[in-house]
């Protein structure tokens, strides 16, 4: 039995956000993942981000594929609808859900096997279509749930727990997302909450296809020497490109940022993302530069983290399809059925 009831009463001193929810209201069932699994840290960052953004939990729809990572939506936002779909095909389900009701916030959660192996096609096409979503790829370089096989993001030359050496070139999901047309592309590390939470918040506020590849060590199968996705490996090789502070514009408070190293990136919803760049030469609005930066870092064996690309004038699928403002799932025969009179005319034209 994996369901453990949470205490019903909240501590009266728990802080509430603007919509009246405590941080605990954003939690879900107790995780059944291995203790220390990177995926759980990502869930914690998601909880923090949604709480800080003052989003009512039930306005979020969580969709995932299949894998340890894809199980996690059960472990946060317990008052949101969730859908554990089929392996590698979450993007299409999310697309359909988004078309049915454009008013909800869509969160896609996937793994590297889910997105880069079996689901590489849907991963690419959902970016091309510009579906308004936050797509989190919990990247551990292995198939956790099926016990340690290599996934397509495993680096060439990395070693599986059982000793096999991976000879295939890895899929670089951030480069692919960029090339396929994602309008927000970032990479982070599950253990770097300070970087991850603002990135998630910015991704949620982004009105278009937002993708974050989060390196997330698998303690069971990919945290041994020889793996390139272990905690130690990533900590040693991580080069953050920038730090990100995000706050919606309705919040009057500004944060402390250093002059000169800051770019304001306005979003469609009126909010502004302020980037504090550790590498002051990095401009995330330059797509070509982003691609080459990622490639150059990879060549040096470094993991580039931070906001890699952001198109401030992003458009989403609904804009492309010119869809009606009201959610489709609220339209009935009155709005949708052309009626018997029109059918008479159609009949007449076919005689």
């Amino acid at each position: 039995m994996t369901y453990v009831a949470k205490p019903k009463l909240h501590h009266p001193t728990l802080a509430k956000n603007k919509v009246g929810y405590t941080r605990r209201d954003y939690e879900g069932k107790v995780s059944t993942l291995c203790a220390g699994c990177g995926h759980d840290s990502i869930s914690a960052a998601l909880i923090q981000a949604f709480w800080e953004l003052d989003i009512q939990p039930h306005r979020v729809a969580k969709l995932s594929g299949i894998g340890c990572s894809s199980k996690t939506p059960d472990y946060f936002l317990g008052n949101s609808h969730g859908f554990n779909t089929v392996h590698g095909r979450m993007p299409s389900v999310l697309t359909g859900a988004n078309l049915a009701n454009r008013e909800l916030i869509y969160l896609g959660v996937s793994g590297d096997g889910d997105s880069a192996s079996i689901g590489l096609g849907q991963f690419a096409h959902v970016m091309r279509r510009g579906v308004n979503m936050t797509y989190i790829l919990e990247n551990n370089g292995v198939y956790g749930l099926t016990k340690g096989q290599f996934s397509a993001t495993a680096d060439k030359g990395s070693k599986a727990k059982k000793g096999m050496i991976n000879a295939d070139a890895p899929v670089d999901t951030v480069s692919l997302a960029l090339l396929m047309g994602a309008t927000f592309v970032a990479r982070s590390f599950s253990g770097d909450k300070k970087q991850l939470v603002p990135l998630v918040k910015a991704a949620i506020a982004h009105e278009g296809a937002a993708f974050i590849d989060v390196i997330s060590p698998c303690v069971a199968f990919n945290n041994h020497p020889g793996s390139t996705k272990s905690y130690d490996y990533v900590r040693e090789h991580n080069e953050a490109v920038n730090r990100l502070d995000f706050w919606p514009s309705r919040d009057a408070i500004t944060v402390d940022y250093s002059e000169g190293g800051v770019i304001d990136v306005p979003q469609h919803d009126g909010s502004i993302i302020k980037l504090r760049k550790l590498d002051s030469s990095y401009d995330p609005s330059d797509k070509i530069n982003a691609v080459s930066h990622i490639a150059r870092a990879a060549e040096k064996g470094e993991v580039l983290t931070g906001l890699l690309y952001l198109a401030p004038d992003a458009e989403d699928l609904h804009a492309h399809l010119n869809t009606y403002e009201a959610p489709f799932n609220r339209l009935g025969e009155k709005e949708l059925c052309p009626g018997a009179g029109m059918l008479e005319k159609i009949n007449a034209a076919m005689r």
Partner: protein, 613 residues
């Protein structure tokens, strides 16, 4: 030499080169009969490429209104030198061969028992037109003109049709009329009396319409409230999604804003199409996809998920032959089992079988209601014969008082009022649980959707009893579907009948015609047209009350028969298969012959053995 003489009852076949512009001229020809009150039934026989390969268009002119394929050709309009030999061979003895005699052909290329009617089409067009494209296009209209004269088609009717086709395009109207007139005059002067196939105004059409099943199904989806369509191109279903696009862009725009009350996604493959439909259905929008056999294969994993997770989805399967290209652009009913049991685990799905465009329309709208009422994938099993050919059928009907059946959806108000919500809980014995749309209520009614491993309240559970409860409930739901799906249609014989016959889908017009032909031979058969799966008790009772039942299908493996044995518990010994699967639509001649032979074989058997069977 024998000469076929026929009035309002014959078959004309056009042999053309794909891409030569013959399609619209041939359609013009077919429609002219309708305007004279004579039913016709045309069929396209086309290859799976765009240009260059042979294509045929067969028109059955039938005052009696037999809309199935007849078989045999009385007049061949042979416009494709490549297929000449095979085309000439197909003509009935005493029939006619209309051809272009601009270049003389050796005598050996004709048949002694066929009347050749030559007309210098190329020469006429080369003299009249300078542009090579015009020469080609108008050649088609010129032969229509000549045929009109030879058959006594009223020229005014064709002029009217051309007028409608080029309304507002005056530049095209005039030359088309001229080309028609040119052919008409030439045949009137030079080819008098050479053809024994004639037409005369009749009153056999009534208020019926002439429409393709794919367009009708698409319109049914518009009327039935589908807002999301996701598809991947595949013959013969592509024209369905394209028709949905066309109808929506006229009928589904918000007048105030010009915004679309529909979303169509041409997905990257069928996995994505059905995924999009599943996501939209989960989130409360009516969604459908149109595909054919190979697409069903790809969709199978998702179909299982939607079945287990209880998500409405409508899948329109325009059936065709097997894998690859070529034969697959011919008609078949060969996905019955693939759809009935699609996917992994214990699954069974609801299928509807339309007989013509009228039912494609009605049943498409019904499928959308059924999918939401039953919270499950529902299949509309049409085929190429209905889907891609214009078919005369009853006008489409819609009752403005009809409301969409959104099924058991728990609202925020119901949750607020304290109504118990168990996503997988059978509340009233029909096996169907309540669902909530995402985002309904801040604290109540949210649940986590997964395929299996859940208890009635959608809480994760791997226990055996929880799994079994759910599986039994799904069975109960499938059983309940019998009360909702279209009932079978019985056509009783005029005399007491020992034999029964079961058929479905596009076999319908040929079956109706065959029943009459059989009765004329004193073979009386009660016929039942199945319109849906799961099978209602009426179907079981029908089988019980006949010693032998012919099951007529357009596939090799007797797929519906398998379902009847498996799912309705019918004694296999009582079911005799009549199977047609060469890629051409089944004919009344074929059914009549097969049943007659079967009946005489049964009649010579000792009576005792027959009873024991």
């Amino acid at each position: 030499m024998k000469r076929i003489e026929a009035l309002n009852d014959f078959v004309v076949k056009f042999a053309n080169v794909n891409g030569s512009g013959s399609a619209s001229a041939n359609e013009l020809f077919a429609k002219s009969f309708l305007r004279m009150g004579i039913p016709v039934s045309p069929r396209n026989i086309f290859p799976s490429n765009i240009q260059g390969l042979p294509t045929w268009y067969e028109v059955r002119v039938t005052e009696r209104g037999w809309l199935g394929r007849r078989g045999g050709v009385d007049l061949m309009v042979a416009m494709n030198p490549q297929t000449w030999a095979q085309d000439v061979k197909e003509i009935e003895p005493g029939g006619y061969l209309f051809y272009d005699n601009t270049k003389a052909l050796p005598q050996g290329r004709f048949r002694d028992d066929v009347h050749a009617i030559g007309m210098p089409l190329t020469e006429i067009c080369n003299q009249t037109y300078t542009d090579s494209r015009e020469r080609q296009l108008f050649k088609n209209i010129v032969y229509v003109g000549a045929l009109a004269s030879l058959m006594d088609i009223e020229p005014g009717v064709i002029a009217e049709l051309i007028g409608e086709q080029y309304k507002g395009k005056e530049k095209l109207l005039k030359p088309n009329l001229n080309a028609f007139q040119m052919g008409y005059n030439y045949a009137g002067e030079k080819l008098k009396g050479v053809l024994g196939l004639k037409v005369k105004r009749a009153y056999g059409v009534g208020d019926r319409i002439f429409m393709e099943g794919n367009a009708a199904a698409a319109l049914g989806c518009v009327y039935g409230g589908a807002t999301v369509c996701a598809w991947y191109p595949i013959t013969p279903s592509s024209s369905l999604a394209e028709a949905f696009q066309r109808y929506c862009s006229k009928l589904r725009l918000d007048p105030a804003t010009g915004k679309n009350k529909f979303a169509i996604v041409q997905a990257e493959d069928e996995l994505a199409s059905i995924g999009i439909v599943t996501g939209a259905g989960w989130n409360g929008a009516r969604a459908f996809t149109a595909t054919s056999g190979p697409g069903i294969s790809l969709m199978s994993e998702f179909i299982g998920l939607a079945y287990f997770a209880e998500i409405p989805a409508v899948i329109i399967d325009v059936q065709r032959g097997g894998p690859s290209t070529g034969m697959p652009t011919r008609t078949q009913q060969s996905d019955v089992l693939a759809c009935a049991y699609a996917s992994h685990g214990d699954t069974k799905h609801v299928l509807l079988f339309p007989e013509d465009p009228h039912e494609c329309f009605t049943m498409a709208a019904d499928c959308l209601d059924l999918a939401e009422r039953l919270q499950t994938p529902v299949f509309l099993m049409t085929d190429l014969d209905i889907g891609m050919n214009q078919r005369l059928c009853k006008p489409l009907e819609w009752d403005d008082s009809r409301q969409y059946d959104r099924g058991k959806v728990m609202t925020a108000e119901m949750l607020e009022a304290g109504k118990e919500f168990g996503r997988y809980l059978d509340v009233d014995g029909d096996g169907i649980p309540f669902r909530t749309y995402p985002g309904t209520h801040p604290t109540k009614g949210a649940y986590f959707t997964r395929g299996t491993s859940k208890n009635p309240y959608a809480v994760y559970s791997e226990t055996g009893p929880d799994y079994q409860y759910n599986m039994q409930r799904l069975l109960k739901k499938h059983d309940f579907a019998k009360t909702l799906v279209p009932k079978p249609v019985l056509t009783p014989a005029n005399e007491p009948a020992r034999f029964g016959c079961i058929y479905y889908g596009s076999t319908s017009p040929s079956m109706t015609e065959a029943l009459e032909a059989l009765a004329a031979r004193n073979i009386f058969v009660n016929a039942l047209r199945i319109r849906a799966f799961p099978f209602q008790d009426e179907i079981f009772d029908f089988c019980q009350s006949h010693s032998k039942i012919f099951v007529v299908e357009q596939n090799r493996d007797a797929q519906l028969r398998t379902l009847l044995v498996n799912e309705a518990g019918i004694n296999p010994a009582s079911l005799i298969s009549i199977l047609h699967y060469d890629g051409t639509p089944i004919t009344a001649r074929y059914i009549t012959r097969e049943i007659s032979e079967s009946v005489s074989a049964l009649n010579v058997r000792p009576i005792k053995r027959d009873k024991a069977a």
